[in-house]
Assembly symmetry: D2
Homo-oligomer: 314 residues x 4
């Protein structure tokens, strides 16, 4: 295992939360997966995050999760670091998946809090503490109150950030006040990485010092987000604003067609299937887009062709 | 398989949500389990519900869940109906557990909505529809927005109630306006059963026509809840009020010691371990009570001894 | 001024929150007001509450509020106790209105917390403390988090209940767990009165010991609520259930036509105007029902004629 | 009256929400007010907003509000535009205050939705429509769901933005996703101004195109916010980040000492009184800081002296 500081350095830039191409409820779509990985990597991304919310992680059977991790690590073949979501309500499932991830050569695991009952902050601290001690990889925290009902309070993040093994946080709360509090708490500790998980807030968080972003749209147009990251890194405000408008355009067009929170990954999968990259089958209890919904995505893709330079990662 | 109407008739009265006695994170405490089942049945309850929220269902490994269902069905041996919680984010896990439940002779399964992302109502309807078609037992709906983030809207319950196979609902929303809307929607359909899942609201809901209650405290003092049910059934208001005060006393004393929502089952398990019935080990990520917390439960049990007639189910 | 205990005794039974008949945004409809007061008193109610939420209190100009209090006190002429809502964000407005209420012979004032910023509990305690010291009448607390954003926490109610001058609480939170906690906190202090402000929960709260109810529907059919109160007082469960069904029927029919929270009093005013009792003009920013909405209320009133015995307070 | 487009042009830059210096609950502190206005204007601000949330507008008696508007307009004497908050639950109060503002030479009025019951969006549209027709000044919308319980939905803002007379919006929702939706809806209409009302989000919103900010801290250190505005206007990212850190420092130090939402203006008033500018008396139901709280503010001010160049607007 790499040492923690080394891994923490890998936790930066654009790290797309990959959707999971499925052939059936129990099987990966292996060809789609291979194409998708290559499509994303061709966009110049800095890492790959599998089995997150966008990856429908909590809805996939254990065996399928393990299979996915193995295939992705093999396909990526260390070109970029791989981060594996292990969030589950069953502790031993999380630990087992972390061991598989380590064996396959993944670089770190990512965990939200167990998500059925709302956990108290002390319970959350105890949980991460025990997890870190049983897991053979660095751990990235995942703040996503929409799904877990609780946020990881800033003071909790501070305490967890002191645990050896905890290297950063992905914040998907969509709350910039929260993000800034976290940023402030770790202003003296640049080894603790802070990633923005809400792509509509990527531009501003990068401008204010985020280490990177986990952007669902980078499944489709990885280059756009990488360009945005680079523009922010070089303080090119004009370009940041312009690319941010494209991020908003994609978000508005693709994520709102399905009308519940699953609309994000169902929209992405629909677009990927239209592009011939992979199947749009969603994990139960979710459904693929209907034909009218699919038509809207098709229209967006047609229009988009003229918006963002062809060959740029699509 | 019994026919649905027959089973629906079994969905009434006091049906305790059994806590799950554990020897380790991966093993049932078999002797504790046997004692607990007998302790509860001795209180005259009308059924038994395993692997609900109080039973820490979503936190237990699959194999343990299956083992529990087998042991409970064997121990109960058809003295009362057994209801099995199959709520999971992984659809195939729920279906597999339902098949095991059917093989073991359980009477129905209970399902909340998959609980990571907040589901849309149409997604929920599709989910239950597909579940019912793949599951060999009648299905009871479980409304618990605290854990699933969404409530099963009254109009959704109405539509799901028309599915053959859906026999009733357990409402743990603690929202009496919701309960009354459901009650009103099924006023012409007494075959659809409505159970109260919040024991502090048991008295009033029984007085207004609930078919029964799923009460965590009935793990400890089953007779109390059965007596309350009987008092309500015979419109003995004075007795209902008096027993309701005892329910409130127990709730106030036992459920508030642990200060997050897990405090309910951790409090019950602590009390059961003091009574020598089973271990107080909680499933990860939860912890047993600390010694000062345990002392408070001990004090309550000492006081309680004089409050509710000995021999009455404790 | 009567002593507090004497007044507390008046805080019981059915105390309708009277709607405010308007001729214009700045003027009372005096004839409508006189007819409405007589209509309500004819139903046998135990008191009258003016300038509450249903009375659009916070939306009415000061002069109009004062005029209303004067007219109502004169019309009622001590046949029943009169309670005056003084909730305002401007402290001196509340105090001034309380003095007018006292001069006119009202029996007590009712206050929610000032309702712009969410108040902290300590701020709320300080507020009530200072209010009580400057107000010449007993004070009834008013818990309505829908409007004030905060609930008066049970421990706050306990502390405020110790102030001489605070005689009870009207709870419009629609949260029976809250109601029961308050009930439990004052179980040894029957002089502190607890009224249910959500009429759909009136039946059950009376059965569990509420001292009375503040029911908007009693503007229309006062006798129904009085009969329900009497049935509960005599533990006639069958009758309670039957009348509760009528309360639900009225609530479902009248309060849901307007689709925001103002729909309750706009629905009541619409029905009263159809019955020829008073104008349906609502205070800014609210609007009277449209003709299609009015038609629905008309249909309800036609149907209702056969449901509840004529002469019974309509 | 100036024409609307002309006024809209004035709605930009740093427009501090002035606290209201009080001598008593019924009287302005006139000397403190004069000093405060000069202190703020010396910082180079672009406008002044009185009677907002920070100005405790909804808690002040009508006469005092009118007195304040008169004095401020006289003191400012057209050096910068003056914006007057008219939010009230009583429609005629809002209209009357708008007329006074017009007579005194104020430039526009600012209105949140009436704030007792949660208004429906259609009700809100009707309200603003009627207000605009009765008010002699341009209207700025004010989105502050913390206080009004509802947000002005993006589609509502779009519709209201079409009303002649509505010139912009101040967004205090602290929700950057909302802010960006509004920004996107008016991307073709630069005459509709969008101001950020949450100062911790000022830096990023200016970088993404906000027209200005309404920052409570600019009562204390107006120059800081003006410098931040200028740095953003000239795309000086490094300076933006550095000044943003100071904004966060001030916010963290001053606004969290009082532990409810009133802590912001009570903290500002406390600091202003230590600086000898005006009294720290708060409007009922709020209290001045206690001595230990005041000590914390004193410490902050001592430390701050070395942080931000003296003479820079303090």
């Amino acid at each position: 295992m790499k040492n923690m500081q080394e891994t923490a350095k890998l936790l930066r830039g654009i790290i797309p939360p990959m959707v999971t191409p499925l052939r059936s409820q129990k099987e990966i779509d292996p060809d789609g997966l291979a194409r998708l990985v290559e499509h994303i990597l061709a966009g110049g991304v800095h890492g790959l995050f599998v089995l997150g919310t966008t990856g429908e992680g909590p809805y996939l059977p254990s065996a399928l999760r393990a299979d996915l991790v193995r295939r992705v690590c093999r396909q990526v073949n260390r070109r970029v670091p791989v981060f594996v979501g292990i969030t589950d309500t069953v502790f031993s499932e999380s630990v087992a998946l972390a061991h598989i991830a380590a064996e396959c050569g993944a670089d770190a695991v990512v965990t939200a809090s167990p998500y059925y009952l709302p956990l108290g902050q002390e319970e959350l601290i105890g949980y991460v503490d025990r997890l870190v001690s049983q897991v053979p990889l660095p751990v990235v925290l995942y703040n996503i109150p929409l799904c877990t009902k609780i946020r990881i309070e800033p003071q909790t993040v501070r305490r967890l950030g002191e645990l050896p093994g905890v290297i950063g946080i992905k914040d998907s709360s969509a709350d910039m006040l929260y993000f800034q509090k976290i940023k402030r708490l770790f202003s003296e500790n640049p080894d603790f990485k802070i990633l923005m998980g809400t792509e509509e807030l990527l531009a501003e968080s990068l401008l204010l010092g985020a280490d990177g972003g986990v952007c669902g749209g980078a499944n489709l147009v990885p280059r756009l987000y990488v360009d945005l990251y680079d523009a922010a890194a070089s303080s090119d405000i004009r370009k940041v604003r312009q690319l941010h408008q494209l991020v908003m355009k994609l978000s508005t067009a693709v994520y709102t067609v399905g009308q519940s929170s699953s609309g994000i990954f169902r929209g992405i999968k629909c677009a990927l299937s239209i592009l011939g990259i992979c199947s749009d089958l969603a994990a139960e209890p979710f459904c693929s887009f209907s034909e009218p919904q699919r038509e809207k995505i098709r229209e967006f893709l047609n229009e988009w062709r003229n918006v963002y330079p062809p060959g740029d990662g699509r």
